[in-house]
């Protein structure tokens, strides 16, 4: 059948649509990649989602304040808060809200075909969505985590916290983006992976912790902070080694998501 099909028309394209006259005030159109990032910021993160992002950020500040009211009020107190609150709760929950929004929610609502039905390569779509989500994390989560160190009175931890939060958010958003295109109830699955995979299994099993954004982000912080030994975990890379592992996790998750987007049926939740 393929042989018998007509070749693509080689003639000139049909004339332009007889469009109505419009004022010639249109701004320059962005490149496809920039447009995808812009769409992520505008369409995927409506006002409600921003509340969902900002709420845990406020929680981060409260965790920082908890250090102040702790009787120790020193680095060890902040280490406990960072381990139990910032890395175990704030980082994954904020990234879950963002990561689910950038693609999973778009697929569920049935609006993804608008982007899917375009000549933009799938890898560009996935990268643009991830970058949009990561930018949101960089202007909300990362400053909140850094502010938490300042509120806690450990300003020397601000730099390591910024690096760890940015790298952790990168991997987490890529992971939740991937889950968004793999399963329908992506928020539920994402939560299950954090609670069961990272908390429950990742704590005793180093093998799982090695592919966990939570543990890797914490290790990155531990390796870069001068009192990091208080929360460092043995048998895992720390510092920049952990940052590198988070970057690899990000790339692997985005690669799988790209493959999945190419093979999916981008229909709405009702279909």
């Amino acid at each position: 059948m393929t042989d018998a099909l007509p070749p693509p028309p080689s003639g000139p394209p049909p004339p332009a649509v007889a469009l109505a006259a419009a004022p010639t005030t249109g701004a320059k159109l962005p490149r496809p990649f920039v447009a995808v990032v812009g769409y992520t910021l505008r369409a995927c993160l409506p006002v409600k989602r921003w509340f969902g992002v900002l709420l845990p950020c406020v929680g981060a500040l409260l965790f920082g304040w908890l250090t102040q009211i702790d009787a120790r009020a020193d680095a060890s107190a902040f280490a406990d808060v960072a381990e139990g609150g910032l890395f175990r709760l704030i980082l994954p929950l904020t990234c879950l809200v963002i990561g689910d929004a950038v693609l999973g929610a778009d697929v569920r609502s049935g609006t993804f075909p608008l982007t899917w039905l375009s000549p933009v390569p799938f890898r560009v779509i996935v990268a643009g969505r991830w970058l949009g989500g990561w930018l949101v994390a960089l202007v909300t989560l990362v400053p909140a985590m850094v502010l938490a160190t300042l509120v806690a009175g450990v300003p020397e931890a601000a730099g390591p916290m910024a690096v760890a939060a940015a790298a952790g958010a990168s991997a987490y958003i890529a992971l939740f983006l991937l889950i968004g295109v793999l399963v329908r109830r992506s928020a539920l699955w994402s939560l299950a992976i954090v609670l069961l995979g990272e908390w429950l299994l990742g704590t005793p099993l180093t093998g799982i912790a090695l592919v966990s954004p939570l543990w890797e982000a914490q290790q990155a912080f531990a390796g870069l902070w001068e009192y990091g030994d208080l929360i460092a975990r043995s048998g895992m890379p720390s510092g920049w080694g952990a940052v590198l592992r988070l970057a690899i996790l990000t790339l692997v998750a985005l690669a799988i998501a790209t493959w999945r987007v190419a093979h999916m049926r981008p229909l709405g939740g009702d279909d």
């Binding site: 099909l5 004339p15 332009a16």
Partner: protein, 337 residues
């Protein structure tokens, strides 16, 4: 030996496969399901979802101009349109749009656009942002194209309002503008007139005609026969995932009119009227129940003309005349028999 003899001798030496042209694998254009200059070709397409078969062994083609896809709800129109655009993979058969596989070859999307039926539009965006986004991801060069498209569908004045605040008809027009801005050669529109008011309906129909006249392939689905007649000179009727009929207005109308139809008649002289009706060739059978007749006819038009005359001749008063199976779906189903 003449030159002609040389050629004949040369042909005789060639293997048969070289001498005899290969049989055409596409049906001849005389089949109303196919066009002579196709831009979109469906070859034995089947799509199913688990045990549910949505489209079955469907073969047809589309060419420049407006083609209507007609069929009742659930007939498989939307599934076919999604498959045409590559959103859905075919389980069997193949689809080519401008010679390319729309699912596997992303370049096909450059000259193809879909206006889906569902209300799924990114509500947080304004109409202008939506159309500009569509233009940007299709690498449209003309920066004024989004404004012009919004003006074409009559949304320029409300272009900065969020799409979520739009009525259904306005959302449809926003989607059409987002499709139009990509300058597609093949446009697939799923029930595009849903929710549009009469004025907009007329304007959109005019726009679709213009697009078709420009040499674009415009495929429009609807379950309203009259609507499709206004939209498209060529129509394909799909019922239960199969191609039930194809052709122009008249062919489809004739196919619909010649189906057996049951008509309920309540009258004062039921038995006498039944006798008179049975004498006509247009009537296949009559059942009488009190003052009610159920008349079966395969020529609805003739029956409509005959009934008042027969009632007058029989001295009967007609109290009620109504078709028993005149839902569009029953009409379509009849086409499949």
């Amino acid at each position: 030996m003449s030159v002609g003899d040389d050629r004949r001798a040369e042909q005789a030496r060639k293997p048969m496969s070289d001498v005899i042209p290969p049989p055409p694998t596409t049906p001849p254009p005389a089949d109303p399901a196919f066009v002579a200059d196709p831009t979109v070709v469906c070859d034995g397409v089947s799509v199913w979802f688990g045990p549910k078969v949505a489209v079955t062994e469907l073969s047809c083609s589309f060419g420049p101009g407006v083609t209507g896809l007609l069929g009742p709800n659930g007939a498989g129109k939307t599934t076919l349109m999604r498959a045409l655009c590559g959103i859905l993979p075919t389980n069997r058969g193949s689809i080519r749009v401008l010679g390319r596989d729309p699912r596997a070859q992303r370049e096909a999307q450059r000259r193809l656009s879909l206006v889906p039926e569902d209300d799924a539009v990114p509500g947080a965006m304004t109409a202008r942002q939506l159309v500009r986004y569509a233009a940007a991801i299709h690498s449209v060069a003309d920066r004024n194209a989004p404004e012009a498209c919004l003006a074409t569908v009559g949304l320029l004045d409300v272009a900065d309002r969020r799409v979520s605040a739009f009525s259904k008809g306005m959302r449809q027009r926003a989607k059409i503008a987002a499709s139009l801005v990509t300058e597609p050669q093949v446009m697939v529109l799923d029930e595009p007139l849903n929710g549009a008011d009469p004025v907009q309906r007329t304007a959109l129909i005019g726009l679709f005609h213009t697009l078709g006249d420009q040499g674009r392939t415009v495929i429009i689905s609807s379950h309203v026969l009259q609507e499709v007649e206004r939209l498209a000179a060529r129509q394909l009727v799909i019922v239960r995932g199969r191609l039930a009929a194809a052709g122009g207005h008249r062919a489809i109308r004739d196919a619909l009119a010649d189906r057996p139809r049951a008509v309920l008649v309540r009258t004062t002289e039921a038995r006498r009227l039944a006798g008179d009706l049975l004498a006509s060739e247009a009537v296949q059978g009559v059942t009488v129940d009190g003052d009610t007749l159920v008349v079966s006819s395969s020529h609805a038009g003739e029956l409509a003309a005959l009934l008042p005359v027969a009632a007058r001749d029989a001295g009967a008063r007609l109290r009620e005349v109504r078709p028993l199976d005149d839902s569009l779906e029953s009409v379509f189903r009849e086409l499949l028999r």
